[in-house]
């Protein structure tokens, strides 16, 4: 480890990896001499999937495809290490179809380790960061637990659930950010001393069972799709053998056991302070809230090709160990199951993301960025998306380029970051398609059309991939215009028969035209609002007609555009109109 780097990334989880790779690759393509350091508390757990060994799903799959379209790594990793691939919502429209895969946990980690080691200008080192070093409101570097100091121009904190992490097994708890893993206490203290507000969140994981003792024959088998969908646009293929999942259910007996033990659940006894995710409730939560449901669905997911363990998706819990084994054994097919890893709840510090700009740079300390679960998100995909943008923006700020801020009309990544920094979150934030106003436009199938041009421009998408993209794009445009001209002639006399991918893309474009036109007014307005910039030191007191509440909110969030302002909760459209008039009139009314 050197004493000086240009960018330090703290934490090698899904966010940290994308950040480090993005920055290193951007520097690499310019033959820059800038260097990136990726620090992890434990080299063995880089890219570890803390709970579900799966990538994608509704809205999450969308994020992964966007990451890939921009030149990030997650899509490739998922394709290369996936052991089951499916497309969800196939009976529904293209905007809400999503790709999902089960991953071989170890292969995924191995792939990421290799990619990281191959990346130029990137050092991956083990070391726990205890303190953020700051000088006069600007980042200076980090101090490790060992006492060593490393100086850097930019620091990205992507520590996941490791800030003051507490693991709960029933009423027992131990310190840790993840099972068998350390926790970081100094870093929380350091952030607070710098003036950051911290909150507390929680999330749970499901128990893992030994595959040997499971009776799969009584369960419903779920295979992947015969035609395996891809996350990545680069066509890396799916080299690993495929495995099925299995479906089973809890039953009345299971529920009785859980009900009897609710008092010993840290959730219900109020022992856990943090707020949990509403839509990923623990099994005890589900029993309590949906009392009249006689059974809950469970998915038995393979952890990997050489791992003799399965993950019981849907059984997230922090009940005591004896309750866990008892309840598992009431489930059909799991009567003789043995626990390989207990389910547990983890409680951790997070830094409310309204303390960040849309670039994910903190407002308090120049050059300090936060990405991933520390911002209150849940999910590997949400973390990776933030990591990618942070890596890009931190790098660009060092090469004198404008930051990239994606619009809500451009990508789910844009929706994600805008929601976080503008509205904040009090519970683990998960992406849903319903969060996107422009859901019909932000589809999995057109992620490259929306973002690859940009990915190439910023230097992340390599030339080869860009070539393929450009060709696909022009083929689609040609085909589309041909069809529009000869509306009836779907069979054409082109020399090259367009690929299935192209045909599908065009099909969708045409089908959605009417709906997209409907959204055009909205879109136009959004674009206008995005172009109206609000300087950081804008004096809201000078604007007549704003309520005190609105003023306070604007001063707190300091939105960078009028579009962001309009998304702040409590900012009325009337207030936006007033700001618009004020900005356009060039402040001539403040007599």
């Amino acid at each position: 480890m050197n004493k000086h780097y240009n960018i330090i990334v703290v934490g090698a989880g899904h966010a940290g990896i994308e950040a480090a790779l993005a920055a290193a690759r951007i520097f690499g393509r310019r033959n820059d001499k800038k260097r990136v350091l990726l620090l992890t508390g434990d080299l063995k757990t880089i890219a570890h999937m803390s709970c579900n060994p799966a990538i994608g799903g509704l809205a999450k799959g969308h994020l992964v495809r966007e990451i890939d379209a921009l030149g990030g790594e997650m899509g490739v990793a998922a394709d290369l290490t996936g052991i089951q691939f499916r497309r969800l919502n196939m009976s529904k429209g293209p905007a809400v179809r999503a790709t999902r895969c089960q991953s071989d946990r170890n292969s995924y980690m191995k792939h990421m380790r290799e990619v990281l080691s191959k990346a130029p200008l990137l050092d991956v080192k083990e070391g726990l960061v205890d303190e953020i070093l700051v000088k006069e409101g600007k980042i200076l570097g980090v101090k490790l637990q060992s006492g060593a100091e490393v100086i850097s121009d930019k620091v990205i904190v992507s520590t996941g659930t490791f800030l003051n992490g507490l693991l709960h097994f029933g009423m027992d708890h131990i310190e840790g950010g993840r099972i068998d893993d350390f926790t970081s206490k100094g870093l929380s203290k350091s952030l607070m001393s710098l003036g950051f507000q911290l909150g507390r969140l929680k999330t749970g994981t499901c128990p893992r069972l030994k595959s040997k003792m499971i009776n799969f024959s009584v369960m419903n088998r779920q295979d992947g799709d015969k035609e395996m969908p891809n996350f990545s646009f680069r066509g890396v293929g799916h080299p690993l053998p495929q495995l099925p999942c299995f479906m089973t259910y809890t039953n009345g007996e299971t529920h009785e056991i859980i009900k009897a033990a609710l008092g010993r659940s840290p959730l219900f006894s109020g022992k856990i302070q943090g707020t949990g995710p509403r839509y990923c409730p623990s099994i005890e939560d589900k029993i309590f809230r949906f009392a009249d449901k006689t059974r809950h669905q469970l998915f038995i997911e393979p952890e990997g090709l050489d791992i003799d363990e399965v993950y019981v998706n849907g059984l997230s819990t922090s009940l005591p160990k004896d309750v866990q084994i008892e309840m598992v054994r009431t489930i059909s097919g799991l009567e003789n199951a043995e626990i390989a890893r207990w389910g547990y709840a983890v409680e951790y510090d997070y830094a409310p993301p309204t303390q960040l700009y849309a670039t994910l740079e903190t407002k308090l300390i120049k050059g300090l960025y936060h990405a991933g679960q520390i911002n209150g998100t849940s999910g590997y995909e949400e973390a990776a998306a933030q990591g990618l943008m942070v890596g890009i923006n931190a790098a660009r700020s060092l090469i004198d380029e404008e930051p990239i801020i994606l619009s809500r009309s451009q990508a789910y990544i844009g929706v994600l970051i805008d929601d976080l920094v503008t509205k904040g979150t009090n519970e683990p934030y998960r992406m849903f398609t319903s969060r996107a106003e422009y859901r019909l436009i932000l589809r999995e199938d057109n992620a490259d059309m929306r973002l690859s041009e940009l990915g190439h421009k910023i230097g992340l998408l390599d030339d080869e991939q860009y070539e393929r993209f450009s060709e696909k794009k022009s083929t689609i445009e040609e085909y589309l215009s041909e069809l529009r001209k000869n509306r009836r002639k779907r069979t054409n006399q082109r020399t090259n028969e367009p690929t299935h991918e192209v045909k599908e893309a065009v099909d969708i474009e045409i089908k959605y035209e009417g709906y997209i036109k409907m959204q055009t007014d909205h879109l136009e307005r959004l674009k206008r609002l995005e172009q109206l910039k609000l300087p950081l030191d804008f004096d809201y007191d000078l604007v007549n007609g704003l309520s005190n509440e609105v003023r306070a909110k604007l001063k707190e969030i300091r939105p960078s555009t009028l579009a962001q302002a309009s998304n702040i909760s409590g900012i009325t459209p009337a207030a936006v109109s007033i700001l618009m008039v004020y900005l356009k009139s060039g402040r001539r009314d403040s007599a």
């Binding site: 509704l58 809205a59 969800l88 919502n89 009976s91 529904k92 429209g93 905007a95 809400v96 839509y279 669905q297 998915f299 849903f432 398609t433 319903s434 106003e437 859901r439 019909l440 709906y515 409907m518 007191d541 000078l542 604007v543 007549n544 007609g545 704003l546 309520s547 005190n548 509440e549 609105v550 009325t572 459209p573 009337a574 207030a575 109109s577 007033i578 618009m580 008039v581 403040s590 007599a591």
Partner: protein, 456 residues
């Protein structure tokens, strides 16, 4: 600090017993201190919402040499957010002399307030979430009410009745949309598909409600704006006499010579608590007299703007060509056909008429009044207690909602994917937001608030 505290005279201009000057904004209290003193209490000690007796003092030495008492007034300070505007609000109740009130206003402006624009106080109430847009409109309607029923309607809207109904529709729509969204974002849960959980029926039921509300506009508009009633008929059938009876006063000149009513005469009548604008016209007939020709052009113009027309014929003298001309000119307008002078006989063959009257005896006038109010209230089947909408803006939004809901229903029938249904539902909810002002645009706001008086 920006000029955020506004002031205006809130009472009508001119002379009166009491004038009210309002000051609203963060500086209201400080400004009060600069212009008002009381011998028995200081402004800081004043309790909120309480009136205190004191003096307006002109402290500006250039004006008067030494501090001069301008007026004895009552002043009240209302602390935010419990005031009309939701800001700190001061009211000064002074003697309403034309010069005096202006002088007091100028003192306040010198002390740091800015003259308010039309409707600006109410606009601030809206911006500070004290009232929604529907209630703001109702304020204007209460002030402008010219009849019992329009006042009642305005008060109901001001109390939030219509807003509550809109809120109910919004909640219902939100629930449906949430169900639809759940089927999209949670494909692995066993959530029933749209077709099974009666979503289509729920949407149709909401659409029924919004259409019903929308249909109240025809009545609501008339109640609020008043009914324009044009009285037509050939000369000398007794139009003016009838009008006088409806007005209950002798406003119109009545002579035996045809063509007496040269001008179009408009008078406001209150009948059954509803405001009617009665428009008496010159007859429609060929005339060589220039003045009469002008009158006839005016009549035709009024007819084109009329909500209702009363066609008057002479019962005794039968139906002639001129009558037929009148009848054919009015056949596409809602009308009441009256045969007047029924005391002198009935000689109209097989003419279909609505009412027999005699302006001379007063016979049939009460029936006429009933028919006129019935014209307004029978426009749609509303039960007592239904909300009524009164503005074109409301109707436009409700129509948009109806279209969106219809599209949503069609989407479901065509088995289109859930995200399309959700899209239409979102559009419906946006249109709902336009009604209460949650979603609005500059032009709509300007349109509404510019019609207020200054000081409101």
């Amino acid at each position: 600090m920006g000029d955020n505290t506004i002031t205006a005279i809130s009472t009508p201009p001119g002379v009166g017993a009491i004038g009210v000057v309002r000051i609203s904004g963060p500086e209201a209290k400080d400004i009060l201190k600069r212009v008002w003193t009381s011998s028995h209490i200081s402004v800081d000690k004043c309790v909120t919402h309480r009136m205190y007796y004191g003096n307006i003092v002109d402290n500006i030495i250039e004006n008067v040499g030494k501090p001069q008492v301008i007026d004895n007034v009552l002043a009240v300070f209302m602390e935010a957010p419990n005031s009309y505007t939701g800001e700190n609000l001061v009211e000064i109740h002074c003697h309403a002399g034309a010069y005096l009130t202006e002088r007091i206003l100028n003192l306040i402006i010198n002390a740091g307030a800015r003259p308010a624009e039309p409707g600006e106080f109410t606009k601030r109430a809206y911006l500070n979430n004290r009232m929604d847009l529907l209630q703001c409109e109702a304020v204007a309607d209460v002030i402008g009410a010219s009849s019992e029923r329009s006042l009642k309607l305005a008060q109901e809207q001001l109390s939030g009745r219509l807003s509550d109904e809109i809120a109910k529709i919004k909640t219902a729509l939100k629930e449906i949309k949430a169900s639809v969204e759940a089927t999209i974002d949670f494909p692995e849960e066993d959530i029933e598909m749209i077709n099974q959980c009666g979503i289509k029926e729920k949407i149709e039921s909401i659409r029924f409600e919004t259409d019903k509300l929308s249909s109240t506009y025809s009545e609501g508009r008339l109640l609020r704006e008043g009914v324009k009633v044009v009285i037509v008929g050939k000369p000398n059938v007794g139009k003016s006499s009838l009008m006088n009876l409806l007005l209950g006063s002798e406003r119109v000149i009545v002579h035996d010579t045809p063509g007496t009513t040269r001008d179009v005469i408009e008078e406001h009548a209150l009948i059954g608590g509803i405001s009617f604008m009665l428009i008496d016209t010159a007859g429609i007939h060929d005339s060589v007299c220039e003045i009469e020709k002008m009158g006839i052009i005016k009549t035709r113009l009024k007819l084109s703007e009329a909500d209702l027309t009363i066609v008057v014929l002479d019962a005794a003298s039968g139906v002639d060509k001129k009558d037929e001309d009148v009848l054919s000119e009015t056949k596409n307008i809602p009308r009441i056909v009256i045969v007047n002078k029924s005391d002198k006989g009935l000689n109209v063959a097989d003419l279909k008429f609505d009412l027999k009257t005699s302006a001379a005896t007063g016979d049939g006038i009460d029936n006429l009044k009933e028919m006129m109010t019935g014209f307004v209230t029978k426009k749609h089947k509303s039960e007592a207690g239904d909300s009524i909408i009164t503005r074109q803006r409301h109707k436009n939004s409700l129509e948009k909602i109806s279209v969106s809901l219809e599209l949503a229903t069609k989407s479901i029938e065509n088995k289109e994917s859930a995200e399309f249904v959700a899209c239409h539902l979102q559009n419906a909810m946006d249109s709902l937001g336009e009604l209460t002002g949650e979603i609005t645009s500059d032009d709509v706001l300007n349109e509404i608030f510019s019609k207020f008086c200054i000081g409101k």
